[in-house]
Point group: C2
Chain length 132, copies 2
């Protein structure tokens, strides 16, 4: 696992914005927020995001082409992660379920499928938004 001190300048800047934002951001939103820090091109953001995802500090939400800071501790070892994404307010909840993981790995084993990455995303409306 990588610690904050080991991050490069651009990686730190991107992680900082994500960490201080409630909800996911697109790469281009990140770029806009980092223009006054000297960011000029999408690739600067994408490169930082790639590394941060490799380190497990950031996750990509495939169904909305956006990114969130990991809500687990930095030393948390990720298994299969699932996300609950509120389409109304953008709130994202990250969680792990050992049973789900076991079932999906079971399918992979049965089918001799070498699993490299699993995406689980639930879209819907969160409790707060339902109440409102």
């Amino acid at each position: 696992m990588v610690h904050a001190q080991e991050l490069t300048k651009n990686q730190s800047l991107v992680l900082d914005v994500l960490s201080h934002t409630e909800g996911p951001l697109s790469a281009y939103s990140l770029l806009d927020q980092l223009r006054d820090k000297g960011f000029r091109a999408p690739l600067q953001v994408y490169r930082a995001l790639d590394k941060l995802m490799e380190f497990g500090l950031v996750h990509r939400l495939e169904s909305i082409n956006s990114f969130v800071a990991c809500t687990h501790g930095h030393d948390h070892k990720h298994g299969v992660i699932a996300f609950g994404i509120c389409d109304t307010c953008g709130r994202v909840d990250e969680f792990c379920d050992a049973v789900v993981e076991e079932r999906l790995k079971g399918w992979s084993k049965e089918h001799a499928f070498r699993l490299s990455k699993t995406t689980i995303e639930m879209r819907g409306t969160c409790a707060s938004c339902l109440a409102a």
Copy 2:
């Protein structure tokens, strides 16, 4: 459920290409393959895909921005669907797992999250490609 006879011309054309293709296609690949059928613009493809997905005849693969024809029978009632996607050959396997579905719905209930759509995609390498 909708039967093939009820599909419009554009919907039939799109489904036809998808059904006769091994593996997923992007919207623009579909467009290219349908140019000689009179297709001229992306929206023609996206509109047809939207309806076909509504009918449950086509699924979107979020992690690769592509679409596949459903491999279940037309009258199959979809629960939560999971996909195994081979990054080497493009093969896609669609399956349902009642336990996974129950666990994810359980999380939603616990968190008072109104679930509208669930995405489960496993990326990796299929048995054939591993053997080769």
